[in-house]
Amino acid sequence: MNTCRESMIHYMHAYLDGDISREEERKLKEHLTECPSCKEMMDELQSAVSFLQLAEPVKAPEGFVSGVMDRLPKEKPKAGIHRLLRRHPLIAAAAMFVVLMSATLFSSYSNQHFSVTKQPNLVIEGETVVVPAGETVKGDIVVKNGNIRIEGEVDGNVTVINGSKYMASTAVVTGKSEEIDKAFDWLWYNIKTTVKGFFPSSSNEKGENLQNENE
Protein backbone atom coordinates (compact mmCIF):
# COMPACT_ATOMS: atom_id res chain seq x y z
CA MET A 1 0.00 0.00 0.00
CA ASN A 2 1.21 3.42 -0.86
CA THR A 3 2.30 5.36 2.18
CA CYS A 4 3.41 8.50 0.41
CA ARG A 5 1.86 11.82 1.00
CA GLU A 6 -1.40 12.76 -0.71
CA SER A 7 0.47 15.36 -2.70
CA MET A 8 2.35 12.75 -4.76
CA ILE A 9 -0.86 11.00 -5.74
CA HIS A 10 -2.34 14.35 -6.56
CA TYR A 11 0.67 15.16 -8.76
CA MET A 12 0.25 11.87 -10.59
CA HIS A 13 -3.31 12.69 -11.56
CA ALA A 14 -2.45 16.27 -12.35
CA TYR A 15 0.31 14.93 -14.58
CA LEU A 16 -2.10 12.56 -16.36
CA ASP A 17 -4.52 15.45 -16.89
CA GLY A 18 -1.75 17.66 -18.29
CA ASP A 19 -2.62 20.00 -15.48
CA ILE A 20 0.72 20.20 -13.67
CA SER A 21 3.29 22.96 -13.26
CA ARG A 22 6.92 22.39 -14.21
CA GLU A 23 7.96 22.58 -10.60
CA GLU A 24 5.41 19.95 -9.55
CA GLU A 25 6.37 17.74 -12.46
CA ARG A 26 10.00 17.93 -11.47
CA LYS A 27 9.15 16.96 -7.89
CA LEU A 28 7.03 14.06 -9.07
CA LYS A 29 9.68 12.68 -11.41
CA GLU A 30 12.32 12.99 -8.76
CA HIS A 31 10.13 11.15 -6.27
CA LEU A 32 9.34 8.38 -8.74
CA THR A 33 13.03 7.59 -9.16
CA GLU A 34 13.44 7.00 -5.46
CA CYS A 35 10.08 5.50 -4.38
CA PRO A 36 9.25 2.10 -5.93
CA SER A 37 5.68 2.01 -4.60
CA CYS A 38 4.85 5.37 -6.18
CA LYS A 39 6.59 4.30 -9.38
CA GLU A 40 4.44 1.18 -9.46
CA MET A 41 1.26 3.16 -8.87
CA MET A 42 2.14 5.60 -11.63
CA ASP A 43 2.83 2.75 -14.05
CA GLU A 44 -0.47 1.09 -13.21
CA LEU A 45 -2.40 4.31 -13.71
CA GLN A 46 -0.72 4.90 -17.02
CA SER A 47 -1.29 1.39 -18.27
CA ALA A 48 -4.97 1.49 -17.24
CA VAL A 49 -5.41 4.67 -19.25
CA SER A 50 -3.47 3.42 -22.26
CA PHE A 51 -5.50 0.23 -22.19
CA LEU A 52 -8.74 2.23 -22.50
CA GLN A 53 -7.24 4.13 -25.38
CA LEU A 54 -6.95 0.90 -27.33
CA ALA A 55 -10.72 1.00 -27.69
CA GLU A 56 -11.77 0.92 -31.32
CA PRO A 57 -14.38 3.40 -32.46
CA VAL A 58 -17.91 2.03 -32.34
CA LYS A 59 -20.31 2.85 -35.15
CA ALA A 60 -24.07 3.22 -35.04
CA PRO A 61 -25.79 0.28 -36.78
CA GLU A 62 -27.31 0.41 -40.26
CA GLY A 63 -30.68 2.11 -40.35
CA PHE A 64 -29.95 4.15 -37.24
CA VAL A 65 -30.82 7.48 -38.88
CA SER A 66 -34.07 6.29 -40.43
CA GLY A 67 -34.94 4.75 -37.06
CA VAL A 68 -34.63 8.17 -35.46
CA MET A 69 -36.69 9.80 -38.19
CA ASP A 70 -39.44 7.21 -37.71
CA ARG A 71 -39.53 7.92 -34.00
CA LEU A 72 -39.92 11.68 -34.33
CA PRO A 73 -43.33 12.96 -33.33
CA LYS A 74 -45.58 13.98 -36.21
CA GLU A 75 -44.95 17.47 -37.44
CA LYS A 76 -46.62 20.27 -35.61
CA PRO A 77 -49.48 21.85 -37.57
CA LYS A 78 -47.60 25.13 -37.74
CA ALA A 79 -44.66 23.43 -39.36
CA GLY A 80 -47.07 21.68 -41.72
CA ILE A 81 -48.46 24.96 -42.93
CA HIS A 82 -44.98 26.35 -43.45
CA ARG A 83 -44.16 23.40 -45.58
CA LEU A 84 -47.37 23.62 -47.53
CA LEU A 85 -46.66 27.23 -48.28
CA ARG A 86 -43.13 26.48 -49.33
CA ARG A 87 -44.27 23.78 -51.69
CA HIS A 88 -47.22 25.65 -53.11
CA PRO A 89 -46.20 29.24 -53.64
CA LEU A 90 -49.49 29.96 -55.36
CA ILE A 91 -51.38 29.08 -52.21
CA ALA A 92 -48.92 31.21 -50.32
CA ALA A 93 -49.74 34.09 -52.61
CA ALA A 94 -53.45 33.48 -52.11
CA ALA A 95 -52.98 33.34 -48.34
CA MET A 96 -51.13 36.62 -48.46
CA PHE A 97 -53.92 38.01 -50.51
CA VAL A 98 -56.53 36.86 -48.02
CA VAL A 99 -54.66 38.59 -45.24
CA LEU A 100 -54.34 41.82 -47.16
CA MET A 101 -57.84 41.86 -48.52
CA SER A 102 -59.91 40.34 -45.76
CA ALA A 103 -60.66 43.61 -44.03
CA THR A 104 -62.12 45.10 -47.17
CA LEU A 105 -63.83 41.92 -48.22
CA PHE A 106 -65.44 41.24 -44.89
CA SER A 107 -66.75 44.75 -44.71
CA SER A 108 -68.38 44.32 -48.10
CA TYR A 109 -69.69 40.91 -47.06
CA SER A 110 -71.29 42.33 -43.99
CA ASN A 111 -72.81 45.00 -46.16
CA GLN A 112 -76.26 43.47 -46.31
CA HIS A 113 -77.69 45.50 -49.16
CA PHE A 114 -79.46 43.73 -51.96
CA SER A 115 -77.77 44.25 -55.30
CA VAL A 116 -77.73 42.70 -58.73
CA THR A 117 -75.72 43.07 -61.92
CA LYS A 118 -77.56 45.35 -64.28
CA GLN A 119 -78.81 43.41 -67.29
CA PRO A 120 -81.69 44.19 -69.62
CA ASN A 121 -84.71 41.84 -69.35
CA LEU A 122 -84.25 41.30 -65.60
CA VAL A 123 -87.32 41.82 -63.43
CA ILE A 124 -86.87 42.78 -59.77
CA GLU A 125 -89.57 41.67 -57.34
CA GLY A 126 -88.64 42.97 -53.89
CA GLU A 127 -85.32 41.17 -53.14
CA THR A 128 -85.82 38.54 -55.81
CA VAL A 129 -84.43 38.85 -59.30
CA VAL A 130 -86.48 37.12 -61.98
CA VAL A 131 -85.33 35.96 -65.39
CA PRO A 132 -88.75 35.81 -67.04
CA ALA A 133 -89.85 32.82 -69.11
CA GLY A 134 -89.12 33.22 -72.82
CA GLU A 135 -86.44 35.87 -72.16
CA THR A 136 -82.69 35.45 -72.64
CA VAL A 137 -80.23 37.42 -70.51
CA LYS A 138 -76.90 37.79 -72.28
CA GLY A 139 -74.06 38.11 -69.75
CA ASP A 140 -73.27 37.15 -66.16
CA ILE A 141 -75.61 37.81 -63.27
CA VAL A 142 -74.39 38.35 -59.69
CA VAL A 143 -77.04 38.70 -56.97
CA LYS A 144 -75.97 39.81 -53.47
CA ASN A 145 -78.16 39.46 -50.42
CA GLY A 146 -81.14 38.44 -52.48
CA ASN A 147 -82.63 35.55 -54.46
CA ILE A 148 -82.92 34.73 -58.11
CA ARG A 149 -85.68 32.85 -59.91
CA ILE A 150 -84.78 31.64 -63.36
CA GLU A 151 -87.62 30.80 -65.70
CA GLY A 152 -85.96 31.82 -68.95
CA GLU A 153 -82.38 31.57 -70.24
CA VAL A 154 -79.11 33.03 -69.00
CA ASP A 155 -76.29 33.08 -71.51
CA GLY A 156 -73.56 33.44 -68.90
CA ASN A 157 -72.70 32.63 -65.26
CA VAL A 158 -75.09 32.99 -62.36
CA THR A 159 -73.71 33.72 -58.89
CA VAL A 160 -75.87 34.17 -55.82
CA ILE A 161 -74.16 35.55 -52.74
CA ASN A 162 -76.00 35.11 -49.48
CA GLY A 163 -79.27 34.15 -51.10
CA SER A 164 -81.08 31.33 -52.90
CA LYS A 165 -81.55 30.32 -56.48
CA TYR A 166 -84.75 28.79 -57.88
CA MET A 167 -84.63 27.10 -61.24
CA ALA A 168 -87.90 26.59 -63.08
CA SER A 169 -88.22 23.57 -65.39
CA THR A 170 -87.79 25.87 -68.34
CA ALA A 171 -84.61 27.45 -66.98
CA VAL A 172 -81.36 27.34 -68.95
CA VAL A 173 -77.99 28.60 -67.69
CA THR A 174 -75.20 28.24 -70.22
CA GLY A 175 -72.38 29.24 -67.85
CA LYS A 176 -71.52 28.24 -64.31
CA SER A 177 -74.03 28.57 -61.57
CA GLU A 178 -73.03 28.88 -57.94
CA GLU A 179 -74.40 29.95 -54.59
CA ILE A 180 -72.12 31.46 -51.97
CA ASP A 181 -73.34 31.50 -48.41
CA LYS A 182 -70.37 31.48 -46.16
CA ALA A 183 -67.93 34.25 -45.50
CA PHE A 184 -65.09 32.03 -46.55
CA ASP A 185 -66.69 31.20 -49.88
CA TRP A 186 -67.28 34.85 -50.37
CA LEU A 187 -63.62 35.59 -49.75
CA TRP A 188 -62.58 32.88 -52.10
CA TYR A 189 -64.96 34.08 -54.74
CA ASN A 190 -63.43 37.56 -54.48
CA ILE A 191 -59.92 36.21 -54.69
CA LYS A 192 -60.78 34.23 -57.79
CA THR A 193 -62.44 37.09 -59.53
CA THR A 194 -59.73 39.52 -58.51
CA VAL A 195 -56.95 37.21 -59.62
CA LYS A 196 -58.73 36.74 -62.94
CA GLY A 197 -58.95 40.48 -63.14
CA PHE A 198 -55.21 40.80 -62.56
CA PHE A 199 -54.41 38.48 -65.43
CA PRO A 200 -56.93 39.56 -68.04
CA SER A 201 -56.29 37.24 -70.98
CA SER A 202 -53.38 34.83 -71.46
CA SER A 203 -52.59 34.49 -67.76
CA ASN A 204 -56.14 33.51 -67.05
CA GLU A 205 -54.91 29.94 -66.59
CA LYS A 206 -53.15 31.00 -63.43
CA GLY A 207 -56.44 31.85 -61.88
CA GLU A 208 -57.70 28.42 -62.90
CA ASN A 209 -54.70 26.72 -61.32
CA LEU A 210 -55.29 28.57 -58.14
CA GLN A 211 -58.86 27.38 -58.15
CA ASN A 212 -57.88 23.78 -58.83
CA GLU A 213 -55.31 23.64 -56.09
CA ASN A 214 -57.86 24.68 -53.61
CA GLU A 215 -60.54 22.26 -54.75
Binding site: H13, D43, V49, L52, F64, R71, E75
Partner: protein, 187 residues
Amino acid sequence: MDELVNKRINEVLKGNHEAFEEIVTMFQHRLYQVCYRMLGNRQEAEDIAQEAFVRAYVNIHTYDQKRKFSTWLFRIATNLCIDRIRKKKPDYYLDAEVPGTEGLNMYSQIAATGDLPEDEVEKMETQERIQYEIGRLPDKYRSVIILRYMEELPLQEISDILELPLGTVKTRVHRGREALRKQMGNM
Protein backbone atom coordinates in the same frame (compact mmCIF):
# COMPACT_ATOMS: atom_id res chain seq x y z
CA MET B 1 -18.95 22.32 -38.47
CA ASP B 2 -20.74 24.41 -35.83
CA GLU B 3 -21.83 26.88 -38.47
CA LEU B 4 -23.30 24.12 -40.60
CA VAL B 5 -25.02 22.60 -37.57
CA ASN B 6 -26.59 25.93 -36.61
CA LYS B 7 -27.74 26.43 -40.17
CA ARG B 8 -29.50 23.07 -40.08
CA ILE B 9 -30.96 23.81 -36.67
CA ASN B 10 -32.45 27.03 -37.96
CA GLU B 11 -34.05 25.07 -40.77
CA VAL B 12 -35.46 22.58 -38.25
CA LEU B 13 -36.84 25.50 -36.25
CA LYS B 14 -38.57 26.73 -39.39
CA GLY B 15 -40.28 23.36 -39.64
CA ASN B 16 -37.96 21.58 -42.05
CA HIS B 17 -38.04 18.02 -40.87
CA GLU B 18 -35.39 16.84 -43.35
CA ALA B 19 -32.74 19.20 -41.99
CA PHE B 20 -32.84 17.20 -38.77
CA GLU B 21 -31.93 14.06 -40.66
CA GLU B 22 -28.63 15.69 -41.59
CA ILE B 23 -27.95 16.49 -37.96
CA VAL B 24 -28.62 12.88 -36.97
CA THR B 25 -26.34 11.67 -39.73
CA MET B 26 -23.54 13.96 -38.56
CA PHE B 27 -23.67 12.91 -34.90
CA GLN B 28 -25.01 9.36 -34.98
CA HIS B 29 -21.72 7.52 -34.45
CA ARG B 30 -20.42 9.71 -31.65
CA LEU B 31 -23.68 9.60 -29.78
CA TYR B 32 -24.13 5.88 -30.27
CA GLN B 33 -20.57 5.29 -29.09
CA VAL B 34 -21.10 7.19 -25.85
CA CYS B 35 -24.30 5.26 -25.18
CA TYR B 36 -22.71 1.95 -26.02
CA ARG B 37 -19.77 2.61 -23.69
CA MET B 38 -22.12 3.67 -20.91
CA LEU B 39 -24.58 0.80 -21.28
CA GLY B 40 -22.44 -1.99 -22.69
CA ASN B 41 -25.28 -3.34 -24.79
CA ARG B 42 -25.89 -2.67 -28.47
CA GLN B 43 -29.69 -2.81 -28.45
CA GLU B 44 -29.95 -0.56 -25.45
CA ALA B 45 -27.37 1.82 -26.87
CA GLU B 46 -29.34 2.11 -30.10
CA ASP B 47 -32.57 2.67 -28.25
CA ILE B 48 -31.17 5.32 -25.94
CA ALA B 49 -29.15 7.11 -28.62
CA GLN B 50 -32.24 7.30 -30.84
CA GLU B 51 -34.31 8.52 -27.92
CA ALA B 52 -31.69 11.22 -27.29
CA PHE B 53 -32.07 12.47 -30.86
CA VAL B 54 -35.86 12.46 -30.53
CA ARG B 55 -35.60 14.55 -27.36
CA ALA B 56 -33.17 16.90 -29.04
CA TYR B 57 -35.67 17.36 -31.88
CA VAL B 58 -38.59 17.99 -29.56
CA ASN B 59 -36.61 20.46 -27.45
CA ILE B 60 -34.59 22.04 -30.22
CA HIS B 61 -36.01 25.49 -29.41
CA THR B 62 -34.30 25.33 -25.99
CA TYR B 63 -30.85 24.83 -27.47
CA ASP B 64 -28.65 27.92 -27.12
CA GLN B 65 -26.81 28.36 -30.42
CA LYS B 66 -23.97 30.21 -28.74
CA ARG B 67 -22.97 26.94 -27.13
CA LYS B 68 -21.64 23.79 -28.68
CA PHE B 69 -24.34 21.55 -30.12
CA SER B 70 -22.47 18.33 -29.33
CA THR B 71 -22.28 19.35 -25.65
CA TRP B 72 -26.04 19.78 -25.51
CA LEU B 73 -26.65 16.54 -27.37
CA PHE B 74 -24.23 14.57 -25.18
CA ARG B 75 -25.91 15.95 -22.09
CA ILE B 76 -29.27 14.60 -23.22
CA ALA B 77 -27.73 11.22 -24.01
CA THR B 78 -25.69 10.84 -20.82
CA ASN B 79 -28.72 11.76 -18.70
CA LEU B 80 -30.78 9.12 -20.46
CA CYS B 81 -28.01 6.54 -20.00
CA ILE B 82 -27.68 7.31 -16.30
CA ASP B 83 -31.46 6.98 -15.86
CA ARG B 84 -31.41 3.67 -17.68
CA ILE B 85 -28.55 2.35 -15.54
CA ARG B 86 -30.33 3.37 -12.33
CA LYS B 87 -33.52 1.63 -13.35
CA LYS B 88 -31.66 -1.61 -13.88
CA LYS B 89 -29.86 -1.55 -10.57
CA PRO B 90 -31.09 -3.20 -7.41
CA ASP B 91 -32.08 -0.73 -4.69
CA TYR B 92 -29.02 -0.98 -2.48
CA TYR B 93 -26.95 0.23 -5.38
CA LEU B 94 -28.87 3.50 -5.47
CA ASP B 95 -27.76 4.57 -2.03
CA ALA B 96 -24.13 3.81 -2.62
CA GLU B 97 -22.74 7.32 -2.29
CA VAL B 98 -19.04 7.85 -1.92
CA PRO B 99 -18.47 10.01 1.15
CA GLY B 100 -14.74 10.47 0.58
CA THR B 101 -11.83 8.62 -0.89
CA GLU B 102 -12.42 5.68 1.43
CA GLY B 103 -15.84 5.26 -0.26
CA LEU B 104 -13.98 4.02 -3.29
CA ASN B 105 -13.47 0.69 -1.60
CA MET B 106 -17.13 0.37 -0.82
CA TYR B 107 -17.94 1.11 -4.41
CA SER B 108 -15.37 -1.32 -5.70
CA GLN B 109 -16.78 -4.00 -3.47
CA ILE B 110 -20.29 -3.45 -4.75
CA ALA B 111 -19.08 -3.41 -8.30
CA ALA B 112 -17.14 -6.58 -7.62
CA THR B 113 -20.36 -8.53 -7.04
CA GLY B 114 -20.81 -8.63 -10.82
CA ASP B 115 -17.22 -9.70 -11.50
CA LEU B 116 -16.18 -12.66 -13.53
CA PRO B 117 -13.56 -15.21 -12.40
CA GLU B 118 -10.04 -14.07 -13.20
CA ASP B 119 -9.30 -16.81 -15.74
CA GLU B 120 -12.43 -15.83 -17.71
CA VAL B 121 -11.27 -12.23 -17.76
CA GLU B 122 -7.84 -13.23 -18.99
CA LYS B 123 -9.34 -15.07 -21.94
CA MET B 124 -11.15 -11.96 -23.14
CA GLU B 125 -9.93 -10.22 -26.23
CA THR B 126 -8.92 -6.57 -25.90
CA GLN B 127 -12.14 -4.88 -27.05
CA GLU B 128 -14.29 -7.09 -24.89
CA ARG B 129 -12.04 -6.53 -21.91
CA ILE B 130 -12.15 -2.76 -22.34
CA GLN B 131 -15.92 -2.75 -22.25
CA TYR B 132 -15.90 -5.12 -19.29
CA GLU B 133 -13.63 -2.83 -17.28
CA ILE B 134 -15.66 0.25 -18.11
CA GLY B 135 -18.81 -1.58 -17.12
CA ARG B 136 -17.34 -2.38 -13.74
CA LEU B 137 -16.75 1.29 -12.98
CA PRO B 138 -19.28 2.99 -10.70
CA ASP B 139 -21.45 5.01 -13.08
CA LYS B 140 -20.51 8.44 -11.75
CA TYR B 141 -16.92 7.64 -12.70
CA ARG B 142 -17.86 5.73 -15.81
CA SER B 143 -19.36 8.76 -17.56
CA VAL B 144 -16.34 11.00 -16.97
CA ILE B 145 -13.87 8.26 -17.94
CA ILE B 146 -15.73 7.56 -21.17
CA LEU B 147 -15.93 11.23 -22.10
CA ARG B 148 -12.30 11.75 -21.17
CA TYR B 149 -10.64 8.69 -22.68
CA MET B 150 -12.98 7.49 -25.41
CA GLU B 151 -14.37 10.78 -26.64
CA GLU B 152 -11.11 12.50 -25.70
CA LEU B 153 -12.93 15.60 -24.54
CA PRO B 154 -11.30 18.36 -22.50
CA LEU B 155 -12.27 18.48 -18.81
CA GLN B 156 -14.12 21.77 -19.30
CA GLU B 157 -16.35 20.25 -21.95
CA ILE B 158 -17.06 17.26 -19.72
CA SER B 159 -18.02 19.70 -17.00
CA ASP B 160 -20.45 21.40 -19.42
CA ILE B 161 -21.96 18.11 -20.55
CA LEU B 162 -22.51 16.70 -17.08
CA GLU B 163 -23.36 20.10 -15.58
CA LEU B 164 -20.84 19.55 -12.82
CA PRO B 165 -18.23 21.99 -11.52
CA LEU B 166 -14.82 21.55 -13.10
CA GLY B 167 -13.35 20.56 -9.73
CA THR B 168 -15.88 17.74 -9.36
CA VAL B 169 -15.05 16.48 -12.84
CA LYS B 170 -11.35 16.44 -12.00
CA THR B 171 -11.99 14.54 -8.79
CA ARG B 172 -14.12 12.02 -10.63
CA VAL B 173 -11.51 11.51 -13.32
CA HIS B 174 -8.92 10.90 -10.59
CA ARG B 175 -11.11 8.46 -8.72
CA GLY B 176 -12.19 6.82 -11.93
CA ARG B 177 -8.58 6.21 -12.91
CA GLU B 178 -7.85 4.98 -9.43
CA ALA B 179 -10.80 2.57 -9.62
CA LEU B 180 -9.62 1.31 -13.00
CA ARG B 181 -6.11 0.78 -11.70
CA LYS B 182 -7.40 -1.26 -8.77
CA GLN B 183 -9.73 -3.28 -10.96
CA MET B 184 -7.07 -4.14 -13.45
CA GLY B 185 -4.10 -4.62 -11.18
CA ASN B 186 -0.77 -4.92 -12.93
CA MET B 187 -1.93 -6.49 -16.16
